[in-house]
């Protein structure tokens, strides 16, 4: 099938402002949805579901959250993991302490809790920018993890804050198998990605990007700086919060505050750098890339070099590859894989006549 938009004329502004204005893209999207929504849970084995697909989805959601704040609204944050922690522990406490709390309601409340904490830690952004804001979010990262360990109430008095997620039950059905958990995660993440895409293509998203690109001009045309930035913090933290709750409930099951450390925050930052800053699709590409790369290298290096190099080399080699890729993307293609994909499509559109 050729990738062409010739002959596809837009008869209305509604058609022109679709998410996928080109027919081939739309078909491609639905094929992907069918593959990941139906074929994958039917065909993939448990290892793939548990160790790869579910975490990719959850990290994609967290990356969307960070992308909203950093990629769209231009506010650098190093605290994504802490907001995930807030979501995970909030969901745990809502389900633990409120009799009959439905899982999906707890999930939304977890997001809302993270959003409120996000607004609180977003307040410095009204005064400071760039590097200094990043340092302020770093403070949030350390403070939140510290508070979750320090106050045993958050973990129902368990030692060192470790909590085990309760069963996930919706309308009497318990999501126990990896297949069931995968489908639930998939539906939630797909739905929230759609909402995010809608926000960024509307006036809300334009306000974020305006503040990112030129804040004085944004104010001069009527955007309110404070409202716009704090909304970005709130929505971003909501996404990270829900991702954190899913991380606990459909991925690893047992979590502790230390699991949501700075390393994880950086991992999510790398996902958006590699996937594409300011792109919803890039969030998925980046998450998939960062989850898959170590698995790929683990299998690939011994295959070529045998066991001669030893396990230590493999993990160091991973770090080198990561570092190299991040420097590559920062310097050569700051819009990441999403942009490379777009360039490839533009080439394809003109192929075979490049002029």
């Amino acid at each position: 099938m050729l990738y062409r938009e010739a002959g596809q004329f837009k008869a209305s502004y509604a058609e022109d402002s679709q998410i996928f204005p080109i027919r081939q893209d739309k078909i491609g999207f639905w094929v992907l949805m069918l593959v990941f929504g139906l074929a994958v849970p039917l065909l993939a084995n448990q290892y793939w579901l548990k160790a790869i697909l579910i975490p990719v989805l959850i990290f994609s959601l967290a990356a969307i959250g960070l992308n909203i704040l950093t990629g769209y609204a231009g506010q650098l944050s190093l605290g994504s993991a802490a907001f995930m922690a807030v979501g995970a522990f909030a969901a745990y406490n809502f389900i633990l302490r409120i009799e009959g709390m439905p899982f999906l309601v707890a999930l939304v409340l977890a997001g809302v809790t993270a959003a409120l904490v996000g607004i609180l830690f977003g307040l410095p952004s009204l005064r400071i920018k760039g590097f200094y804001l990043a340092v302020a979010t770093l403070a949030a990262q350390f403070f939140i993890v510290w508070a979750l360990v320090k106050f045993p109430w958050f973990s129902n008095n368990s030692s060192s804050g470790v909590v085990t997620a309760q069963d996930v039950t919706i309308l009497g059905y318990t999501f126990a198998t990896p297949e069931a958990k995968y489908i639930l995660t998939f539906l939630i993440v797909a739905f929230m990605a759609l909402l995010a895409k809608n926000m960024v293509r509307s006036s809300t998203g334009r306000a974020w990007m305006a503040v990112r690109d030129m804040d004085v001009a944004a104010q001069v045309i009527g955007f309110r700086l404070m409202r716009t930035k704090l909304l970005a913090f709130a929505v971003s933290s909501f996404y990270c919060g829900v991702a954190g709750a899913l991380y606990a409930y459909t991925y690893i099951g047992t979590v502790e505050p230390e699991g949501f450390n700075l390393d994880l925050s950086f991992k999510i930052l790398f996902m958006i750098i590699i996937g594409g800053v300011g792109s919803i699709m890039g969030s998925f590409l980046g998450a998939a890339f960062i989850v898959l790369l170590p698995i790929f290298l683990d299998n690939f290096i011994p295959m070529i070099f045998g066991d001669a190099l030893g396990a230590g080399f493999v993990s160091n080699f991973q770090l080198i590859v990561f570092g190299g890729l991040i420097i590559f993307f920062l310097i050569v293609e700051p819009h990441g894989l999403a942009r490379l994909w777009q360039i490839a499509k533009e080439k394809l559109r003109l192929w075979p006549f490049p002029h």
Binding site: S12, Y13, A14, S17, L195, A196, N198, M199, R201, S202, S203, T204, G205, R206, A207, M209, A210, R212, D213, M214, V216, A217, A218, Q219, V220, I221, G222, F223, R224, L225, L231, V235, G278
Partner: protein, 260 residues
Amino acid sequence: MARQIGDVIVDLQNISLRFGGVKALTDISFNVREHEIRSIIGPNGAGKSSMLNVINGVYHPQEGQIFFKGALRKKMEPHEAAEQGIARTFQNIALFKGMTVLDNIMTGRNLKMKCNFLQHALYWGAAQKEEIAHRIKVEEVIEFLEIQDIRKTPVGRLPYGLQKRVELARALAAEPHILLLDEPMAGMNVEEKQDMCRFILDVNDHYGTTIVLIEHDMGVVMDISDRVVVLDYGKKIGDGEPDEVKNNPEVIKAYLGTAH
């Protein structure tokens, strides 16, 4: 002349503005009448841009009063000035460089859009309807400024002259009462300047938009302005109709006499 110049709509009285030790504006009074084209001229560093920044609340003068539509205006933030119908363009283009031409111009409509972020998230329904209604308005502006073929282009890829035009489009999309233009023709070739002049006159003529214009090209200024105010070192040295200003000895000495 078809359009009727109205009452004073912006009245600045004894404005002084300082940045630390630098006196950007000293005791300046002048007014702008509804529907007129009012120009501000003066050598580099005279305080022209500072004047516009005072009018739309980017800078807050230490002394003086501003009356807006007859009422004393309290300290006003830029977004409040926007709500009052003041739009502007900047001397150094201030487009949102990561966005397309269309999105940049759409931002100009933001104050008229009422849906909140939750409606945006759900999109289908109210938000989509609103988006399309405003898109139609934006397309009118796009057509008026003859930039149809660059709609979907990221603004960063456009040449300078077109960027200036897109910035004007963004300001016009707000349907402002008062339009502040800071050197809209700087760096343009003759043809681009002519286009820009035509757009400014058309906006003023068709929509009755009041225009405050900073421009270095004396030919243009004397041609299209109703009244001109002249600044030099932060002080006002002349004010009046083009012919009056042209013949003011102090203005000739300070400005027109020098090579510009």
